[in-house]
Symmetry: C2
Subunit: 240 residues, 2 copies
C-alpha cells in the first residue's frame, strides 16, 4: 500500500505525528504538500482536497491520509489505522483501544499547549492576544503541564516496560517523543523544573530518538525545525 | 454484555454523548455515579476508578466505559467501540473510520465551545475570566461556530440521506443532536441567525428527538437539564 499524507507543508504541526509513524514503520508514502506546486504539491494540494465537492466523505482539516480509495482524518484516527498495518501497536483489539485512548489524551494536551499562545482566536496574531496568553501560560505550566505529564509518566510506570504500552514500541511512543521534544523547545524552563518527575518520559524520548529510522529522519531535511509558527512555540515570556 | 458508565453525576457533560448511544442502542447499562454513594455511586465512584493504583491501563478522565474487563476512555473512543455492538454504525471498516473522524471533529468543536466561557483556565470561575471570555465569544460565534456548523451541514449534504452517514441512523447523529441541543440552549441568538444555513442539521435534530427511545429518555429524570455548570452555558453576554 502506498500512502499519501496531506498536511500544510511549512510546519511540523500535527502532520509530524503521522510522519514519525510512517518513518518508523518504513511505510511507502508521499508527503504530497512537500512536493513543488508544479508537481501537484504545496498548500494548494491540501486546499484542493478540503474543497473537493465530489467527496462524499468530506474532511474538516488536515492531516489527512489517503490509503487507496480511503481518506482518513484526524491524527489519532490515522495512527489507529496505521498502527496494525505497520506493526506499531499490539494485535489485541483491547490494547488498540487503550492505545487510542492514550493517544487521544495526547491530542487534548497538544491542543491545550497550543492554546497557551492562542487563547482568544486562531484568526488573531499572538501579539494581539499576548495579555491573555501570559495569563493562561501560568495556569498551563502550573496546572495542566504538570497534570498531563504526571499522567503520561504513570502510563509508563503502570506498564511492564519502558514504553507507553509496556515492553515494545508503538506509535504512542513516537507521539510521546514528539510531545516531549516540542515541550523541551517551547517550555525549556518549565520542563527543567519537572525533570525529576518525568524520568520515564525523558528516557522514552531518548529511546525513540536513538532508533535508527527516527534518528535518520530527524537528521534529514524532511524534519523541519521547531518554530514560532508551529503548535508549540518558544515565546520565553510564556515559560515563566 | 452489561456496560458500566462512569461520569460525573451532576451534569450532562461528555457522558451524555455516551448515554444517548446506550439508550438508542437499548444497551444493558448502569450509570454508576448516578447511584447513591451508599450503593457505590456518586462522585467517589468516578474518583476511585481514576485513582485505582492497581490499574495497568490508567485513564486520564471520564467518561469511562467498563465492558467486562475492558475499560475504554474518551467519548469518541467509547462510541467507536459501542457503535458496531449496538448496530449504530455501518459494518464496513472504512465507514467506521469515517464516522470516527466526524465524531472527533465534534469533539474538537465541543472543546472550543466550552473554552468560550473558560479561555484562561478550568481552575478559575467564569467570573474571573469574563473579560477574556467576552472577547473570545465574538470570534467563536462569527468564525468557529459558523465554520464547524457549515462543515457538519456539508457532511449531510454530501451523503445520500438525511443522516450524517447517509440513509440510516448512527451514533454520529445522536451526538450531532446533542451538539445542536446544547447550542440552542447556550447560543439561541447566534443559532437563530444561522437557521437558514443549518436546515439539514435542524431537521436531523428533530428526527433524533422524535425517535421513541430518545424521546422517552429525554423526558425522563435521567436527562438532567442544561445548566451553567455544563460544557455549553447560557451566558447571554456570550451570545452577542
Amino acid at each position: 500500500m502506498k500512502y499519501e499524507l496531506y498536511y500544510w507543508p511549512h510546519i511540523q504541526g500535527r502532520g509530524e505525528y503521522v510522519r514519525l509513524t510512517l518513518e518508523e514503520g518504513e511505510a511507502d508514502y508521499v508527503d504530497v504538500a512537500r512536493l513543488p506546486e508544479a508537481e501537484g504539491g504545496g498548500r494548494p494540494a491540501v486546499a484542493r482536497l478540503l474543497q473537493d465537492a465530489a467527496n462524499t466523505h468530506p474532511p474538516y482539516a488536515p492531516p489527512l491520509l489517503k490509503a487507496g480509495k480511503q481518506m482518513i482524518s484526524h491524527t489519532a484516527n490515522i495512527l489507529r489505522f496505521l498502527g496494525p498495518r505497520l506493526n506499531l501497536v499490539p494485535k489485541a483489539a483491547a490494547m488498540q483501544t487503550y492505545a487510542h485512548g492514550v493517544q487521544l489524551t495526547m491530542t487534548d494536551f497538544v491542543r491545550e499547549a497550543h492554546d497557551v499562545h492562542h487563547p482568544i482566536a486562531n484568526s488573531l496574531y499572538y501579539e494581539d492576544q499576548k495579555t491573555e496568553a501570559l495569563r493562561r501560560s501560568g495556569h498551563f505550566r502550573n496546572e495542566r503541564l504538570t497534570k498531563f505529564l504526571s499522567y503520561f509518566e504513570t502510563v509508563i510506570a503502570r506498564g511492564s516496560g519502558k514504553y507507553m504500552l509496556g515492553k515494545s514500541l508503538s506509535y504512542v511512543d513516537l507521539s510521546m517523543f514528539q510531545v516531549m521534544a516540542s515541550l523541551n523547545y517551547a517550555f525549556p524552563k518549565a520542563m527543567a523544573g519537572l525533570a525529576d518527575k518525568t524520568v520515564r518520559l525523558r528516557t522514552l524520548h531518548d529511546l525513540v530518538a536513538a532508533r535508527p529510522r527516527i534518528a535518520r529522519y530527524v537528521a534529514s531535511s524532511a524534519r523541519l525545525a521547531f518554530s514560532t509558527h508551529d503548535l508549540m512555540r518558544d515565546y520565553p515570556e510564556l515559560d515563566g
